[in-house]
C-alpha cells in the first residue's frame, strides 16, 4: 500500500537550536501511528512542520503523493490533513456549534447537520449554544477533536488527545479514533499516556533531541534499550 504521508530528511531550526534534525518517516493509509519522546524532543514541532504552521528549513513532506511543504496551513487542510493542538485552541467567544460551523467547506445546511451529529457523538449537544470558552477543559478538548472531523480529513494529527480527559470520556474518544481507522482514515498521534499509545497504535515512532530514535510495533518499542534510556537516562 502506498504511503499517505511521507517525511524525508526534515530539518527545522529555531535560531541555534535544531528542533528537528533530519527526520524521515512514512505512514500508510488506514492505520494508527503514535509519536512519543521526552519533553522538547520535537514532537509538536514535527506536527507544525507537517501542517505548515512552521516552515521547514530543509527536507520534504509529501501527502497523497504531492509535496505540501511549501503550502500554507489552510491549503494543507483542504488537501485532507487535519489536526488538533496540544494547548487547546478552540475559539472561546464563539459557541460550541459555531466552532464547528466555521470549519467546513460544504453548504450551510449539511454542515449544521454534521455539527449537530458530532456534538451528540461526544455528548455535548446540550452545550451547543454555550460559548466555547465557558466549557470545561475536557469538553474543550472534545470540541477540538470533533472540530477537525467536520471536514472529514483523510489524515488526522492529534497532539495529546488524552491529556485532561477523564477515563469514561477517554474510552469513548479512543473508540472514536478506532472507528475512524476502520473507515479508512489514518491517525497520527502524540501521546504521553503509554497505555493509550500501546493499546491503540500499530506503529510507534520515538523522537529524541529532534532525531528519530526508533520505529516499530509498541511491544518492540517498549523493550528497546535506547528508548528506555532516552526517557529515564542511564
Amino acid at each position: 500500500m502506498a504511503a499517505i504521508l511521507q517525511v524525508r530528511n526534515l530539518v527545522k531550526r529555531f535560531g541555534g537550536v535544531t528542533a528537528i534534525n533530519g527526520v524521515s518517516l512514512s505512514l500508510e493509509a488506514g492505520k494508527i501511528y503514535g509519536l512519543i519522546g521526552p519533553n522538547g524532543s520535537g514532537k509538536t514541532t514535527l506536527f507544525n512542520c507537517i501542517t505548515g504552521i512552521e516552515r521547514r528549513d530543509s527536507g520534504a513532506v509529501g501527502f497523497k503523493g504531492r509535496r505540501i511543504d511549501r503550502l500554507k496551513p489552510h491549503q494543507i487542510f483542504h488537501r485532507g490533513l487535519g489536526r488538533t493542538f496540544q494547548i487547546i485552541r478552540v475559539f472561546p467567544e464563539l459557541t460550541a456549534l459555531e466552532n464547528l460551523l466555521v470549519v467546513t467547506t460544504s453548504e450551510f445546511k449539511p454542515a449544521r447537520k454534521r455539527a449537530e451529529e458530532l456534538l451528540r457523538f461526544v455528548k455535548l449537544e446540550t452545550l451547543a449554544d454555550e460559548y466555547a470558552g465557558n466549557l470545561s477543559y475536557g469538553q474543550q478538548k472534545l470540541l477540538e477533536f470533533i472540530r477537525v472531523l467536520m471536514s472529514d480529513p483523510d489524515l488526522i494529527l492529534l497532539d495529546e488527545p488524552a491529556a485532561g480527559v477523564n477515563r469514561t470520556l477517554l474510552n469513548e474518544l479512543l473508540d472514536a479514533v478506532k472507528a475512524l481507522r476502520d473507515r479508512g482514515k489514518t491517525i497520527f498521534l502524540v501521546e504521553h499516556d503509554m497505555k493509550v499509545v500501546m493499546g491503540l497504535c500499530e506503529t510507534v515512532f520515538v523522537l529524541d533531541h529532534g532525531e528519530k530514535l526508533a520505529e516499530g510495533p509498541p511491544g518492540m518499542i517498549q523493550a528497546d534499550e535506547r528508548v528506555i534510556e532516552a526517557y529515564f537516562g542511564r
Binding site: H74, P92, V102, F108
Partner: protein, 308 residues
C-alpha cells in the same frame, strides 16, 4: 427574549420612518446634528467590521475618510455632481485599503495598527505637499451649495447600509470566520480558513463607507484642509464608540455612536474643550470596567444571540 424579538423590528421600522420625515419639520441645525450622528454611526460601524470582528486594530481609519473627502472635493471643484463624487471617494478609499492592506495584513499582532497610524500621517503630509491638486495647507473650497437635507438622506443611507451589511456578515459563516481570526488566527488557518484573504475582504468592506462619508462631509462643510479631514481624534472617537457599545456586535457601534455623540454635543455646548478629557475618561472607564462594551456584557451575561 421572545417578546423582544417581536417588537424590536417594529420599533426599528418606526424609528426609520420618523427619521425619514424628520427634515420636513426640523430646523437646519437639527438636520446638521442628525447627519453628523449618521456619519458617526457609519464610521463606528465600519471600524467594527475590521477591528471588532477580526481583532486587527486600525489606528488610522480616518485615512479613508480623508481620502474620500479629498477625492470628492477635487471632483466637485472640477464640476462633478457631489453624489457621484462621494461614490468615487468610496471607491478611492477601497483602492487605498487594498494598496495598504495587501502588505500590512500579512503582519500579525500590533504591526498592522502601527502601519495604519503611519498611513494617516503620510496621507496628511501628502495632502499638504501636492498643492496643485489639493490646495496644500490652504485647503480646498467647494462651490457654495445648500444640500443639507440631501446630505442628511445620503448619510442616513450609508449608515443604514453599513449596519445592514454588518447584520448580514455577523449572522453568516463569513462573519464567524472573521471572528476566528480574532479568537485564534493560527487555529483558524489550521481549520482551513484562508485568513489573509478574509482579512483583506473585511478591510476593503470597512474602507468603503468612511470614503463615501468623508466625501459627504466635505460637501457638507464646504471647505477642507489636511488637518480637518485626517485628525487622529476621529479614529479614536470611532474606536471609543465601538468599544463602549460592544465590539464585534451588530448594534454596539450604533449604540456607542448615539450615546457618545449625544453626550459630546451636550458637553461641547456647555464646556468647550472638556470633551477631549471626557473622551479619555471614557476610554479608561470602558477598558477597566467593561472591556466588552455594553452589548458585549449583556450578551455574555444573558447568553443572548449575536443578532441582539
Amino acid at each position: 427574549m421572545k417578546r423582544w424579538a417581536r417588537w424590536f423590528p417594529a420599533a426599528l421600522a418606526l424609528l426609520l420612518l420618523v427619521l425619514s420625515v424628520y427634515p420636513l419639520w426640523a430646523t437646519g441645525y437639527g438636520v446638521r446634528v442628525m447627519l453628523q450622528l449618521f456619519m458617526w454611526i457609519a464610521l463606528a460601524q465600519s471600524w467594527n467590521l475590521i477591528s471588532g470582528l477580526t481583532g486587527y486594530v486600525s489606528f488610522g481609519h480616518v485615512a479613508f475618510f480623508g481620502m474620500g473627502a479629498y477625492t470628492t472635493a477635487i471632483l466637485v471643484v472640477k464640476g462633478v455632481a457631489w453624489p457621484l463624487a462621494a461614490v468615487a471617494g468610496g471607491v478611492m478609499a477601497v483602492v487605498l485599503a487594498f494598496v495598504i492592506g495587501w502588505p500590512c495584513l500579512r503582519l500579525k499582532g500590533p504591526y498592522f495598527a502601527i502601519a495604519m497610524l503611519g498611513l494617516n500621517e503620510v496621507l496628511r503630509v501628502m495632502a499638504s505637499y501636492f498643492e496643485g491638486l489639493t490646495g496644500g495647507g490652504l485647503g480646498l473650497s467647494l462651490p457654495t451649495l445648500d444640500a443639507s437635507v440631501r446630505i442628511y438622506y445620503a448619510m442616513g443611507l450609508v449608515a443604514l447600509a453599513v449596519t445592514a451589511a454588518t447584520y448580514v456578515i455577523v449572522t453568516s459563516r463569513f462573519g464567524l470566520r472573521l471572528m476566528t481570526i480574532r479568537e485564534d488566527e493560527v487555529a483558524a488557518e489550521a481549520m482551513g480558513i484562508d485568513t489573509f484573504r478574509y482579512k483583506i475582504y473585511a478591510f476593503l468592506l470597512s474602507a468603503a463607507a468612511p470614503g463615501i462619508v468623508g466625501g459627504l462631509a466635505a460637501r457638507d462643510m464646504g471647505y477642507i484642509e489636511p488637518i480637518s479631514v485626517f485628525p487622529l481624534v476621529t479614529t479614536i472617537t470611532m474606536i471609543v464608540m465601538v468599544l463602549f457599545g460592544g465590539k464585534g456586535t451588530i448594534w454596539g457601534p450604533v449604540l456607542g455612536a448615539v450615546i457618545l455623540f449625544t453626550f459630546q454635543e451636550l458637553v461641547w455646548a456647555n464646556f468647550p474643550h472638556a470633551h477631549q478629557i471626557l473622551l479619555g475618561g471614557i476610554i479608561v472607564a470602558v477598558v477597566l470596567v467593561m472591556p466588552r462594551g455594553i452589548l458585549g456584557v449583556l450578551q455574555q451575561r444573558y447568553n443572548l444571540p449575536r443578532t441582539v
